[in-house]
């Protein structure tokens, strides 16, 4: 749920990176963090286990610039991908304005991708959100790996609704900013639509 503050002339929006365990959600945020001008970003917070698996969430605040005199700020969150952290995922989805689904392109992770997508749909529905109606972008990550499934197959299974989609390799940063821009744009367009 976006927050518009007339006093400080700020608009804050929340974007959540969703996807199966080890698909690269945290890596996406880390890349954005390292490549963003220090003036535009806040501290990145990672609540992770000792083995660097996300335990609760990662958080990165970003300032994108001004629209009509209002500073636009995006709060990027990741969820813990591992199946048993479902309660935490539900909490993080609260008040979301846009979702990025990070799919793991590796063919052996197809099942995990599908399970996570179903889980996203269910958890959004609990908040009376429909995946097809909110700003939503799909990222096919790990395209650089030799065991990556063909794009058409991933698309057929994970994005039959034809949401904006991007190929990526979050380790090298390929596709990371394209994904972020697409979801941020979609969130702002959605706010514009809602205000009409």
């Amino acid at each position: 749920m976006s927050f518009i503050n007339y006093s400080s002339r700020e608009i804050n929006c929340k974007i959540v990176y969703y996807g199966p365990g080890l698909c690269g959600k945290t890596t996406n945020l880390q890349f954005i963090y390292t490549k963003t001008n220090p003036d535009l970003k806040g501290k990145m917070i990672s609540l992770a286990t000792e083995t660097e698996r996300t335990l609760f969430f990662d958080f990165l605040p970003l300032a994108l610039g001004q629209i009509r005199g209002f500073k636009t700020r995006f709060h990027l969150y990741t969820v813990p991908g591992q199946v048993f952290y479902d309660a935490s995922r539900k909490l993080i989805l609260k008040g979301v304005d846009g979702v990025v689904f990070v799919a793991d392109s590796q063919i052996e992770r197809m099942e995990a991708n599908l399970e996570s997508m179903d889980n996203l749909r269910i958890n959004l529905r609990e908040q009376v959100y429909e995946l097809d109606k909110i700003p939503f972008v799909v990222q096919y990550n790990k395209r650089d790996l030799p065991n990556a499934a063909p794009l058409e197959e991933l698309r057929r299974q994970l994005n039959p609704m034809g949401a904006p989609e991007f190929e990526a390799s979050a380790q090298s940063g390929e596709g990371v900013f394209e994904t972020l821009k697409a979801v941020a744009k979609s969130v702002l367009s959605d706010l514009k639509k809602l205000s009409r």
Binding site: M1, S2, F3, I4, N5, Y6, S7, S8, I11, N12, K14, G42, K43, I45, L47, F56, F57, F59, P61, L64, G65, Q66, I67, R68, G69, F70, T72, H75, A87, S88, L91, I92, K94, G95, K181, A184, K185, L188, S189, L191, K192, L194, S195, R196
Partner: protein, 165 residues
């Protein structure tokens, strides 16, 4: 619970600042923050220099969400009051109007008892302010009053320009 977008006008923000400014003084607190349950910082007062307020807001919301989940597991609706004791500084966290979180940072110039007492009064006042904001938002939504959002004016070009690099 708010289902509508949160829009805060200057006069509402001033009212919130007035209440928490007084709370800082009455409770001898170092700082007071109002955070919404989604992790957005709404207002701050007191000695907040050097505190990463954006992170504070996000982690407070995370903590409240997690303990709220715990409450439900044991059959409670919520844990409305939290207290974290540190070596120097302490945190007192309360839920206000179901959606807002009031965070008080204090040290040994104050006491838990005093903070609790003052928070009670300030919490009631803040709840009233947020109820009114909510009513206003609902009325705007019902009448289709788009002046509530600066987005009614923006164009696709404005959005594109944000990403021009």
């Amino acid at each position: 619970m708010f289902d509508t977008q949160l829009v805060m006008y200057e006069e509402d923000h001033k009212r919130v600042l007035h209440v928490i400014g007084r709370l800082v003084r009455d409770a001898n607190a170092k700082g007071v923050f109002v955070v919404d349950k989604n992790g957005q910082l709404i207002a701050e007062a007191g000695e907040v220099r050097g505190i990463d307020t954006t992170s504070l807001a996000s982690l407070t919301a995370g903590s409240i969400a997690a303990t709220g989940g715990l409450a439900k597991i044991i059959g409670e609706e919520d844990f409305p009051v939290h207290f974290h004791q540190g070596a120097r500084d302490n945190l007192h966290i309360t839920l206000v109007a179901k959606r807002m979180i009031l965070v008080v940072v204090f040290d040994d110039r104050s006491s838990l008892g005093l903070v609790r007492l003052r928070v009670k009064k300030a919490g009631t006042e803040l709840a009233k302010v947020f109820e009114e904001i909510q009513k206003k938002a609902e009325a705007d939504q019902a009448t289709g009053n788009s002046s509530a959002s600066p987005f009614s004016e923006i164009t696709d070009d404005d959005i594109d320009n944000l990403f021009a690099d």
